[in-house]
């Protein structure tokens, strides 16, 4: 098993299109790392560079402290699971899994043992003689995983392996892959555009945007302490709300944006961080989860009140997503989450409380988090 | 540029893979194109070792050669007659084959057999059909019409061969159209039905416009084929009677390989090639293939 180290790795196409602008990521042995970001952010390119399917334009890639930039994919001791499964349609499940081992001249008994073992783990034992087209999407994806498994590689690479499956199966496979990771104690690198998948699966998440690594952190840290506005908005569903406004100093520090105005309690110790922004533009971020309707719930500690006007309510089961705007700011819509038992109608005025400890502020120019 | 190991591997494999085909194309296509022009400027006779350069003399002679001028006229008539009819007929055949009908596989085979049969075979069969005591005259006599000796009559020989050509190729192009028809979404026809279009309107307003790219392809291939028609002429009429079926490619063949005037033959082939280029260029300009 192995660690993987990316040092200032760049990908440049045709001398001017820069797909990856210098990525530094270090992945420890046995870690499950998820690369996540919107489409076109370079996450797949990064994975494919680790696999050796894309040239590395600049920087170093090390697997187990060894530089592998110029080593061909087959000699990197990695295995990859593809989005479209990439099963050889003319081979049976057994042959699909055995192919890589055969090419590496393993003995017949060993191949048989490994394939049967992998099939057992993945519940494919009775399908070994089938061809891919006689199987369902979920089964095919299992075969693709099996093909990686039998190789016992140093590193497993997954390129959006679940995005072709339906929602229910996706959740099921997610759990299975996670369990597999615990069982195998292998290094796994997993690409997805789905932040929920990233949050639930990763020990560590690498958030990418426009070829730049935005933040590398544990799921909970990403959620609670996003490095910048992009990460804050990307992680979490529904997304964090953002409101542009100003910091003013009266008795205490205050945030103002039109009708929205609240004080920032001194207990939060934000004074030092926010003082340089007094009188300046700032972005205020608040998550839909950390708001509550004061008509239904008791006042909580360290909370500020906001008046808002409900536009639309979307019940999704036990909870509802309520879209609203602030008085005088009809053009911007925000979201807050409530118990679905709370019934709102369009146009209704309500007062909500917000947990101040959960409020986040971002620099309006760099979009980096201030506090 | 420094090549990576991966690129080097691809490069070697690629040249290995395309090497032999490229060599053959060079010998039998690329070089001959240039060579054809070269030959056409010489009095190149297979039987005479001396091959003097004569400039454009072959071309001047061609345009004073009555047979050549007749060949141009015949070839153009042939093409104008055959291409539109075979295109429309093959589209209709494909339209029929695309309907729900019993025994579709049988009908498809029936229409396709002439296309996959050797042109020599179909020509021989039609020599018999067109002969004075042949099948065509027999059928005509049943409705009280007296026929003629179709292939030995200067007024009918070319048309007889044109009919044979339409008969053979329409089945072939039917397959092309069939593929085009099958790629038209059924929902379009359903929408048209709801809009109140009958079968006939559906054919003209949906099918014909939707298969336009295929039509373009079929017309181009038809043009190229007709301008170069040879096999049927060789077998059925040998250009006769009185040159009434001499086409340009038959003229080229005769001069090159019967009289061994290779320079003269090459020149006539060059002229034919330019006529074909002109025709396909005009088609591209005035009837482009744009798809929707």
């Amino acid at each position: 098993m192995a660690n993987v180290e990316l040092k200032k790795v760049k990908k440049i196409y045709d001398k001017n299109v820069v797909a990856i602008k210098g990525a530094d990521v270090s992945i420890k042995d046995k870690e499950f790392v998820v690369l996540v970001g919107p489409s076109g952010c370079g996450k797949s390119t990064l994975l494919r560079m680790i696999a050796g399917l894309e040239e590395i334009s600049d920087g170093d890639l090390l697997i187990d402290e060894k530089k592998v930039n110029d080593i061909s994919p087959k000699d990197r001791d990695i295995a990859m699971v593809f989005q479209n499964y990439a099963l050889y349609p003319h081979m049976t499940v057994f042959e699909n899994m055995a192919f890589g081992l055969k090419l590496r001249k393993y003995k017949k008994d060993e191949i048989k043992k490994r394939v049967e073992n992998a099939a057992g783990i993945l519940g494919l034992t009775e399908y070994l003689k089938r061809r891919p087209k006689e199987m369902s999407g979920g089964q095919r994806q299992r075969v693709a995983i099996g093909r990686a498994l039998v190789r016992q590689p140093k590193v497993f690479l997954f390129d959006e392996p679940l995005s072709n499956l339906d929602a229910k199966l996706r959740v099921q496979m997610r759990i299975e892959i996670k369990r597999l990771h615990q069982q195998l104690q292998a290094t796994m690198i997993y690409v997805t555009h789905d932040q929920i998948e990233a949050m639930t699966m990763g020990d560590k998440i690498v958030v990418l945007k426009d070829g730049i690594v935005q933040q590398v952190d544990s799921p909970m840290n990403l959620f609670n302490n996003p490095a910048n506005k992009f990460v804050a908005g990307f992680i979490g569903s529904p997304s964090m709300n953002f409101l542009n406004g100003k910091i003013e100093k009266n008795n205490e520090l205050e945030f103002t944006a039109g009708s929205v105005r609240f004080g920032i309690p001194d207990e939060l110790n934000l004074h030092d961080k926010l003082t340089p922004y007094i009188g300046k533009e700032i972005i205020f971020g608040f998550r839909p989860e950390y708001m509550y309707d004061k008509g239904f719930e008791q006042q909580k500690q360290l909370s500020v009140d906001l008046n808002l006007i409900i536009d639309v309510t979307e019940p999704v089961g036990s909870e509802s997503y309520n879209y609203f705007h602030f008085a005088g700011k009809e053009d911007q819509t925000f979201c807050f989450r409530s118990d679905s038992a709370n019934a709102y109608r369009s146009g209704q005025n309500i007062t909500v409380g917000m947990d101040v400890r959960r409020l986040r502020f971002f620099d309006s120019e760099t979009e980096n988090r201030i506090a | 540029m420094k090549l990576t190991t991966k690129q080097k591997g691809q490069l070697r494999t690629a040249y290995l893979f395309i090497g032999f085909p490229l060599l053959l194309f060079s010998i039998f296509t690329f070089f001959p194109i240039l060579f054809a022009f070269f030959i056409s400027f010489y009095d190149w006779n297979l039987l005479i070792p001396d091959k003097p350069f004569i400039g454009l003399a072959n071309y001047f002679e061609l345009f004073e050669d009555k047979v050549f001028l007749i060949a141009i006229k015949n070839t153009v008539m042939y093409t104008i007659g055959v291409v539109p009819i075979q295109t429309l007929l093959s589209l209709i055949l494909a339209f029929i084959m695309n309907q729900k009908l019993k025994g579709r596989a049988f009908f498809r085979l029936a229409f396709y057999i002439p296309a996959i049969t050797s042109s020599v075979v179909t020509s021989i069969i039609f020599v018999w059909i067109y002969s004075k005591p042949g099948l065509l005259n027999y059928l005509l006599s049943l409705i009280g019409v007296e026929g003629t000796d179709w292939l030995f009559n200067t007024g009918t020989a070319l048309f007889a061969i044109m009919a044979l050509n339409i008969w053979t190729t329409s089945g072939y192009f039917m397959i092309s159209f069939l593929a085009g028809l099958q790629s038209i979404p059924t929902s379009l026809y359903e929408a048209a039905k709801i809009d109140g279009a009958n079968q006939w309107q559906q054919f003209w307003k949906i099918t014909v416009p939707m298969v336009r790219p295929v039509t373009y392809f079929v017309v181009v291939l038809g043009l190229i084929g007709c301008f170069q028609v040879f096999d049927q002429i060789y077998v059925m009429s040998a250009g006769g009677p009185v040159n009434s079926t001499t086409t340009m490619s038959y003229f080229t063949y005769n001069n090159s390989f019967k009289y061994f005037r290779l320079g003269y033959g090459a020149a006539s082939a060059v002229v034919l090639a330019f006529i074909i280029f002109g025709a396909t260029w005009m088609q591209k300009k005035y009837f482009p293939s744009e798809a929707y």
Binding site: R131, K133 | I33, I96, F107, L109, V120
Partner: protein, 274 residues
């Protein structure tokens, strides 16, 4: 409802008349080929022979150099078909899947050469082969038809539909590019290979103009050239000629019947497209 029924009957009547026009000529030549009476030019003609016989087929085989022509045709067709399948697949793979300098220009040149009318190449090809003393030899008959741009184009188109993932999975599994071609791409390309084989077979088997130019003696003729020769040189024994034409036609029709699904379904293979 009645109107629809009449329409339907009319449709089938038209269909049957068309069918008769398309296969009628073959049926009549079949009928003549079984005719024991050598003089078929009687008026009025008889649609069916008075006396049936297989003797014409026997005679074609015994009296004519039919066996030699058949042998020539088979050899040429076989070599050209195998060669076309093999080289079209190789070159198609290179153009579809490999990266090499000049690839796009080279391919455009090949495509452009499709627009060259074959007629212009006849004289130069003849002179070239004459220089190598290949006129009236198998070499002269076979060499110009070993590869074709259309087939390369077909294979390239097909290979491009194979997901890139498959190639990459094979790379990671440890394949060289040649092995990817041989063990992954070829096995999944059977429909396209079959299409190339069938088209080449028919083109080769039925080819007339080139063999007529490049052969000068009877024993080098292919079947079509031989039949044309018989028709033109002798005052024809029609039943014999018809028996010959039927025999020539059988292989192409048989191949069509056996492989017609490849004609019809085209080159899209199930299982690959997800």
């Amino acid at each position: 409802m009645k109107e629809i029924k009449i329409q339907k009957i009319l449709f089938y009547v038209v269909l049957l008349v068309m069918t008769a026009i398309y296969i009628g000529p073959f049926l009549f030549s079949l009928s003549i080929s079984f005719n024991a009476d050598q003089d078929v030019f009687q008026w009025p003609i008889k649609l069916l022979p008075d006396e049936w016989t297989l003797a014409n087929y026997q005679k074609v085989w015994d009296d004519l150099p039919f066996a030699q022509w058949l042998f020539n045709s088979v050899i040429i067709t076989l070599i050209q078909t195998l060669s076309n399948v093999f080289f079209a697949a190789l070159a198609g793979f290179a153009f579809a899947r490999l990266d090499f300098p000049g690839k796009n220009i080279l391919f455009s040149i090949l495509l452009a050469s499709l627009m060259i009318p074959g007629i212009i190449l006849l004289v130069p090809k003849f002179i070239i082969l004459n220089e190598f003393n290949l006129i009236n030899t198998y070499g002269g008959l076979i060499l110009p038809g070993l590869v074709s741009v259309v087939n390369i184009f077909l294979m390239k188109q097909f290979f491009e539909t194979i997901p890139k993932d498959l190639e990459e999975a094979a790379l990671i599994d440890g394949c060289s590019y040649f092995r990817i071609f041989w063990q992954i791409f070829l096995p999944v390309s059977k429909p396209a290979l079959a299409a190339v084989a069938i088209y080449t077979f028919q083109g080769s088997w039925n080819e007339f103009m080139w063999p007529v130019i490049v052969t000068t003696t009877r024993e080098m003729f292919t079947l079509p050239v031989g039949m044309a020769f018989l028709k033109n040189e002798f005052s024809v024994q029609w039943p014999l000629l018809m028996a010959g034409t039927i025999l020539i036609s059988l292989p192409t029709i048989a191949i069509f019947l056996i492989f017609q699904r490849y004609f019809v379904q085209g080159v899209a293979s199930a299982g690959l497209k997800e």
